[in-house]
Symmetry: C2
Subunit: 244 residues, 2 copies
């Protein structure tokens, strides 16, 4: 079927091309790290000129879906933000190098999704979810307390692994064990005075300020795959933005 007809023909060609490529990426036609078609090939297949093809690719690069390498090709980008903590919390060593905090699973259970979770994950109310609580530490000092919810349907394979063997990063685990690739995320920051439970977990005075980060992690097709809420001491928190 002609790709043009699958998209709104009133759209500019470069838009339809972008959408087409975006769909192919979402359908995992190429896995992260793999090269997509060359520009010359796209020119042929879509009967577009090189400039138009490049504009479509440019858009996907700007969106973070692709990455170009002169001489090598254009590659499906692998999101690497399990360490996005670093956007918000300063865990650097004095040397400035990044460390991956230790991840320790405290609890894992299967339950019916609370309504807020069902809505964030776009599940039917009452669907089964995997709920985990996890503590992240650096040099034995607790830095972040996390509550993580996953749709059981997609992540059941995690239940077969001992939680002690989860390792420090979850997204590679999701990919290897469950074939679920995280492509992007939306985060929502708020702040509050810490409650008793988290004060104990994070070794803080009750009432000390904490930052709360709520994250929906999405696949390449933008379907929500994970929802988590993380709390960390406000003292460690720092975020920088540029505004225009």
């Amino acid at each position: 079927m002609n790709f043009v007809r699958r998209h709104d023909e009133r759209l500019p060609l470069y838009q339809r091309l972008r959408d087409e490529l975006s769909e192919r990426i979402a359908s995992q036609q190429w896995r992260p790290g793999e090269a997509i078609l060359t520009e010359a090939e796209l020119v042929k297949q879509f009967s577009a000129s090189i400039g138009t093809v490049r504009k479509a690719i440019d858009m996907l690069v700007a969106e973070g879906a692709l990455e170009r390498f002169q001489g090598r090709g254009t590659i499906v980008r692998r999101a690497r933000f399990d360490s996005s903590l670093f956007r918000f919390f300063r865990f650097q060593k004095e040397s400035g190098e990044r460390q991956v905090p230790e991840g320790r699973i405290l609890r894992r259970e299967v339950m019916a999704a609370p309504s807020a979770v069902a809505s964030a994950l776009r599940l039917a109310p009452g669907s089964e979810v995997i709920h985990m609580t996890r503590l992240r530490l650096l040099n034995g000092k607790p830095l972040l307390a996390e509550s993580i919810w996953l749709p059981k349907e997609k992540f059941a394979a995690l239940l077969d692994i001992d939680t002690g063997a989860f390792g420090d990063l979850l997204y590679p685990l999701y990919e290897e064990r469950c074939g679920q690739v995280i492509a992007s995320a939306e985060e929502d920051l708020t702040a509050e005075a810490v409650d008793e439970v988290h004060a104990r977990l994070l070794q803080l005075q009750p009432g000390a300020p904490v930052i709360v980060v709520e994250r929906v992690a999405l696949g390449y097709d933008r379907q929500p795959l994970e929802w988590r809420r993380s709390r960390g001491p406000a003292e460690q928190f720092r975020y920088q933005v540029e505004i225009r």
Copy 2:
């Protein structure tokens, strides 16, 4: 003098063109809201092809310096983030519409720049600065306590105006009275337990969590023009980001 020679000739043409336009904007050859040269004119003046000119303009649009309007021209963008508070604090009415909080200047003084301020504003140590404290309120309720520092050299005209006549937005005032146009800003967020002084100003319990926003505001030439530190109740704070 040939514009090409003023830039590194090893750079691609579209880069040199971008730099040239960027410099002209910084030098206020066009004021915010005014149209720059048309694409056709740029093609002539720089002996480049339309595609190259468009690429240079595209970059400046992406950077937020320009804005295109089909049929009208390409305009120097006016930064409109005095209300960037809305990025961080939710002040919306139930209706969702934005209100400009009332701004009330509590104090204004001329002093030697504290070293942190001198460094943020890139002033020689001990330079004279204008320091103001300001409270922002909505429906009479205090929302934000601000400390603002300005280089006296550029902003001396402000000292002639009664602080009661400052109005609710400062950046338009800077532009009208001092000819200083704010083009962008860098913000730095942290959180802390509120101290006594700010607890009283913001009508909070001592120790309640507050968000601290430090902002350096820059001109089109990226020279720092203002430094401010704002504190607001964490309860009102919310920030959303997308991560890829």
